[in-house]
Symmetry: none
Subunit: 190 residues, 4 copies
DNA sequence: AGCTAAGCGAGACGGTACGTCGTGTCTTATT
DNA sequence: AATAAGACACGACGTACCGTCTCGCTTAGCT
């Protein structure tokens, strides 16, 4: 037996929960993260403000829950024949996610907020979708060598910096990035 | 001569300007970027609110002016004998700047804000201290090959991602990063 | 016989009813009428909110039911030998009730609320404890002359105004008030 | 020299002050005291909420300032030839004020609130318009005998109770009240 | 004994006012 | 003309209470 929580009381409304998450998705695109407010979310969702505060403490938490699932899905790439194709395909997905996806916009906003808000830092640390996706790809490319953080940073870093520093995603040569990453991988200190 | 501005009137107070910039520096460390406000800056600086608005439009502009000079200085590394030492030294400076320097905290906050504020994006684009410093190092290491954005991203990216994603700066192996970067440099497609 | 209500169903809980009335009594003294809330009453009584709303529409109704019985009792004075003693004794009880009794505090609050809430006005009109008590005394003092509203107002008014306008009840000379009231009574236009 | 306050700063807006006071007057009649809110006052006045809170702490304070002047004016009666006419005229004005005047509605609301709010009690004690007006009449009727609180209570009390307890003002015989009051006055203990 | 129905505690729901704070603008007197 | 001071209209903050609703659980009278 597990379900021991709250014996009485009206159960949480799944409808309200979804309305809030959809409202956050919509508003992020329409007004941006800075103009995203708890009040605005509640109004857009047709929900009382207390209902939002009851389940989420900050707009960052709502946004995190709203886009973490999409993020995982968008960063998963299909297996390919060669490591080069696999890495290139992953980097393309990464750039697409960070630069164009709604979920990516949410992720960038959260990562930005985490730079000056320890609570958000801790929040996004609970599910590090970027590292996890890179780790999955690396483990598939070279199952013998377990993916470490340093390798993940070398894989993700250049594209990540490219997007975060505001450069044009179309100008990034992901194929060259993948080639150079794999060369390092095959030539590390013996 | 030079002073061609408004014919009459009181000149701008240099004292007020410096008080504002120092106030921003102090407050960023004390309360963080999110809690940084124009009102708070003015109060801390002992300056009228209008005086802040007269010379800067947003808190981002004040912060930018307050930390861009420090940033340039901290990211300049002394020339070294070998490329490997030079690159390693630069990456160390980069990590130190992003992870520990007050100016770096300001830069991170601005770059974060730029993710959802086009005005801030444009602002920090006017003086890309990170790319400029990397460019300087690259040109010194290999004067024959002019530094391009892709190489800059490969150099800065991994360390940048490491810090921005909240990893411990002490765990980053900059020497290994430098080695792998230089290997790519020497082996690019002929 | 008589019990024609709903054929089935759980009967009303007398325990809950009393808990609510006691809670209102307690809270009125502790936090005052303004801070008295339906939610607070339910919590203090250890009762569901709906249970309060099921039997009373407003906090005024609960309070009325909670203090009307006490009020009647406190305003009833024992017969005395002389009219003067009787009237004085009644005025003393009136002042004691209005100024010091918990039930009187409830009555003052309700009468105050009635000034801007027609529903409360109608509510307290259903059982005018003040006038009724005065009427009883007057009828005993002079059975020949039925107590009219004007006489009741002359009897109650001065003390009522004294308390309602915040004056010190100890400074009121009820004996003098009684003497002057009786003089009027005996000298009205023939 | 007196005007030493605040050397700098924008002066208080008289326009905003009047807009707020008029808004309170209007809203009291339209929605009643219970539904009167600081937010509503600010909106109706076309004024920021902070502006209201800057100068008044509670809706009671705003209302007090809004109706105290009207109250004083409405309770001042013109001198008459006979004491009976004077007293009757005053009682008529008193009833008219309490039962029909907007300012009187405000006064009743405040006096009601004072029953359970010490701050309001203290507030209305700073300018006791009812007692002051009665005092003025009594001093004119019998300059030899200075008006005491007990006499004031006997004069005001009956009419006050009549209105506060919700009776029909038209049914009150002020002439009889005045006659009986004057009889007491002339026959007090020697 | 089983069924039906209303009351019960609990607590989430959509709303709205609270009093505070920061926004960017404005209006003073002073320098 | 720039300054320090501070009032202005505006609107988001997070909290509290409103009155309603939906749960699972009594607790009775009526088959």
């Amino acid at each position: 037996m597990i379900e021991l929580k709250g014996r009485g009381g009206r159960p949480r409304s799944e409808q309200a929960r979804e309305a809030v998450l959809h409202a956050v998705d919509d508003l992020l695109l329409e007004v941006g993260y800075a103009a995203l407010t708890m009040k605005g979310i509640a109004m857009r969702a047709g929900v009382g403000r207390q209902t939002v505060y009851r389940w989420w403490s900050t707009k960052a938490e709502v946004l995190f829950e709203a886009c973490v699932d999409d993020a995982e899905e968008e960063l998963a790439v299909a297996p390919t024949r060669t490591p080069l194709a696999e890495i290139t395909s992953y980097l393309d997905a990464l750039v697409r996610f960070l630069a164009h996806s709604p979920a990516g916009a949410g992720y960038r906003a959260l990562l930005a907020a985490a730079q000056h808000d320890p609570a958000v830092k801790q929040l996004i640390a609970t599910k590090d979708v970027l590292s996890a996706s890179a780790s999955a790809v690396l483990n598939r490319v070279d199952p013998a060598r377990p993916a470490d953080d340093q390798a993940i940073a070398r894989l993700i870093g250049p594209a990540f910096f490219w997007i975060m520093s505001g450069r044009d995603p179309a100008q990034l040569d992901t194929h060259e990035l993948a080639r150079s990453f794999l060369q390092d991988l095959g030539s590390e200190v013996p």
